[in-house]
Every structure is written in C-alpha cells, then in structure tokens.
C-alpha cells in the first residue's frame, strides 16, 4: 500500500517535471486542445440556445383553443369537458367565456378598442383553453374532440411548433455531428503532437526499459503529462469561451439587438456545464493521446 502510494507520488512528480521540461512541445498540445474545445464551446452555446428557444416557444404555444357553438347545450359542454379531461397530456383546462374573450380582445386592441363597442354580445364564442403537458399530445386530443357536438372550431399552433422542432432537431443533429467529428480530429491532432513528443523521447523510453522499468511505470508519467496538458488547455478555453461569450452577451443585450439576448442562453447558466465538459474532454483527450502515441515504443 505504502509502495503503491510512493509509486503514485513518483509518477505524479515525474509527470509535472516532464510537463515543465517539455513545455515547448506541450505548448503545441495545449494550443490544439484549447482550439478544439473553443469551437466545441461555440457549438455548445448554439445548441443550448436553440434548446432554450424551443422550450420557450413550446411553453408559449402549447395550448389548444376549442371554440364552442353558440347553441351548444349544457350536456354537450359537460360531455366535451369530460372528454378533454380524460385525454392524456392535458395539464389544465380553462373555460373562457365570451365576456372574458371580449375583455382580452379589448386589451389587445388598445386604442382601437372602441371599434368593438357596437358589437352584439354573442359575436365572440365561448371556448375551452387546453394547456398541454407537451405539444406532442396535441394531435391526439384534437382528433378525439373534433367531431363532438357543440364544437365549432379548434385552433392550435401545430405548424409553427412542428417547423421549429424540425429546425431544432436539425441544429442538434448537425451540432452533435460536428462535435463528434471535432473530437475525432482533436484526438488525431493531439496524438500526433504527443507522438512527436514521444518520438523525441523514444530513446528515453528505451533507456527506462534497460534500467528495468515496467511498462506501467513508464506510461504513468507520460499519461499524467498528457492529462496535465489537457487540463491546461481546458482551463484556457474555459476562460476564453466564458469571458468571450459573457462580453458578447452583455454588449448584445445593451444595444438594439436585445432580442438576440432573449434567444441566447445567459453565460452564467452554462458555465457549470462548460467547466465539467471541458475538463473531462481535455483530460480525456490528453490521456488518450498519450496512450495512443506511446503504444508503438513500448516493445523494446
């Protein structure tokens, strides 16, 4: 146990030492890791923004309004309400009387509201406003109630939502594809950078083997070194992405483009995700890069 601990201590020490003494080569690794992570950060922000836009829109549009015929009977209305309530995905059902509808309309029309004054009371219909748990349920509910007695017309925003969802899905898919490609490319770049480092240290590895070092003992410091370079790259890109985005977000919200900042995710909401994702990917790429590039030289 004590020996294991000492071995770990030695490996860590040598990892740090190796990092410092190979800082020239390390700079190349760190630069490529943080470049990749920065692009990844931008895509991440894009995807998260689209996501929040979709969620936002869904919560605004996830309702169905069922207009009732003026001559609908009490029984029709009760039957309809029961039918609605028995459907899946209904969050809330509200009855909107024609008086309320008129009031809302007056508010919306503002100064032109006087135009509504002469209208007959029953020009506007009574309606049910159905709040949905998810827009996905809309079709089923509409199908179930559309033929019922007393229903005049059903309004819902399926098309807008559908279009937005398709768009969001494309963005998400595209984003994931780009991220996957980027991670592959970055592992390739980094393993090549480290391969250069390792090739220049091929002799060193050979010597370690002559002295009787096991593969594990030789690998340890190199992997530690890779992880350290990965972490430095992650740190760098976290700083750049966060402060860069924060600056962009602030300046956009202050100016005419304020509507953009409504769509964009606020920086402080993503900083946690970015720190976790970048740290994990940075360290992972570093370790993997070291392992991949060293394989060849260990069979002395």
């Amino acid at each position: 146990m004590e020996m294991k601990f000492q071995m770990f201590k030695n490996i860590t020490k040598q990892g740090f030492q190796g990092m410092w003494r190979n800082r020239g080569m390390g700079l190349a690794s760190v630069t490529s890791i943080s470049a990749v992570l920065m692009i990844l950060g931008l895509i991440l922000i894009l995807i998260l923004s689209i996501n929040s836009l979709v969620v936002d829109t869904q919560s605004k549009f996830d309702e169905i309004e069922v207009f009732l015929l003026n001559d609908a009977t009490e029984e029709d209305i009760t039957a309809l309400e029961e039918a609605i309530n028995s459907e899946n995905g209904v969050k809330k059902v509200e009855f909107k009387s024609r008086d309320e509808a008129l009031k809302i309309m007056q508010e919306e029309w503002g100064e032109e509201a006087y135009l509504l004054e002469g209208l007959e009371e029953d020009v506007l219909p009574n309606s049910y406003v159905i709040k949905l748990k998810d827009i996905e349920y809309a079709d089923d509910i509409v199908k179930a109630i559309s033929g019922m007695n007393g229903v005049e017309k059903i309004n819902y925003h399926k098309e807008i939502i559908d279009k937005l969802m398709t768009f969001a899905n494309y963005v998400r898919l595209g984003g994931i594809a780009i991220i996957a490609a980027l991670i592959l490319v970055s592992i390739f770049i980094i393993s090549n950078t480290i391969k250069l480092t390792v090739a220049s240290r091929k002799r060193e590895i050979g010597i370690m083997k002559y002295v009787g070092a096991t593969n594990g003992y030789i690998k340890g410091p190199f992997i530690m070194e890779g992880i350290l370079f990965g972490l430095i790259g992650a740190l760098l890109s976290i700083g750049l992405v966060y402060y860069g985005y924060d600056y962009f977000f602030e300046s956009v919200s202050e100016k005419v483009y304020a509507w953009i900042s409504v769509i964009l995710v606020p920086p402080e909401l993503i900083i946690n995700d970015i720190v976790i994702i970048f740290t994990a990917i940075g360290a992972g790429i570093g370790a993997l890069g070291s392992l991949v590039s060293m394989k060849k030289y260990l069979n002395v």
């Binding site: 000492q6 030695n10 003494r21 060193e204 370690m208 002295v211 009787g212 070092a213 593969n215 002395v300």
Partner: protein, 235 residues
Amino acid sequence: MIKLINVSKEYKNGVKALSNIDLNIKKGEFVYLVGSSGAGKSTLVKLLLKEEEPTEGQIYLNQMDITKVRNRKVPYIRRNIGVVFQDFRLLPNKTVYENIAFAMEIVGVPSKEIRRKVPSILSLVDLSRKSSSFPDQLSGGEQQRVAIARAIANNPPILLADEPTGNLDPDTAWEIMKLLSDINGGGTTILMATHAREIVNTMRKRVIAIQEGVIVRDEEKGGYGDEIPDVQKYY
C-alpha cells in the same frame, strides 16, 4: 552466475550471429569479451538483457533460465543486471541525481533511502558536485561515471558493460576501468565487451574471444590476442 548452454542466435534475416556458445562465468569474475565488429559480442549482451531471444539453448542468470521468463517479467530480470553502454544512455531530461534516483524508484526503494543513498553513490564515482547538472552539461567521462553509478545503484550481482570506454579518450578510459575494477572488487560479477586492446593487455583478466559467432579462445589473464584486427581510432 552467468551460464550459457549451447546457445545459438540466428536473426530473422538469416544472419547467424552466435553458434553453439557454451559459457560459464562465476560469481565475482571480471571477464573481457573481445572480438571484431559483427563478431557477436553485442548479440550476446542483448541475449543477456533479454532484448533478443536465442534460437536455441539456455541462458542462466543467477540459476534462473531467462529464456523461459515471460516478456512481462523482463523488467524484473533487468533489475538484477546493471548495464553500461558505449553511448552512456542517460535520461536527457533528468539531472544526474534524478537519473540515479530513477533506477531506485522503479525498484520501489523508499524515498527516504533514496535521498540517503544517491549522494553516497555519487561520491563513490566522484561526481558529488555535478548532482544537479543535466547529462548534456557533462563530459563523456563524467556521463559514463553517472551511467555506472546508476548501474550499481541497486547493488546488482551482475554488471554488463558494452564498450564502456569506446567513446572516451585514453586517460578517461582508464578512470572508468579503475572504477569498474573497484566495483568488481566489491564482489560484483562484470562482463565487459570491448575493443580496447591496450586495456585488455594491461589490466589482465579472463578473456573470451568471439569470432564469427564462435568462442575461439577463453583464457585466464589473457591478452587481447592477434586474431582480432584493431579498430580504427578516431582520436
């Protein structure tokens, strides 16, 4: 201590480097291995380090047949053999102190003992002042002394030296020989492959001469011999 029974080595490209070598080196001996370039000296050293496998025969180190040892266990065999090479082979990114400490760390020597022992080994090879220098800041002779210090750091029973004086001027070469002789005096078995006629003829030890993969002479207190042409000297 070192025993070869009917050992042959043929490389994949068909070159027959060693044929039917029988050899027995006892504990505490100092043996020169002489022969012209390509005679098979390096192959013999490589077989002892298990860097190459013999095509035939058994090799015993410390009563253990190393041809039967698995690859994964090779590091543990190498820890019983100190090695010194013509080109020193020090870790370039480590200081003199760290080079020696490294050899001890991999064996699992506690750091307290390493801190105690490295300075005493350094004073043994007279390099205490250069403790924190890097190899490229040292002369050839100094580098070789560090390599020897590293080789004996774990008190191995066997020390292999492959042309240890090959890159050194004559005065420095003698310093190294004196050091090796002292180490041998401490009980370490030494096998030294060499081209240095003057050294072999002056510091008389057992001489094993190899030519074209065959032992042609095995003599106590032997000389360099006339069967081997002198290598060209570059200095």
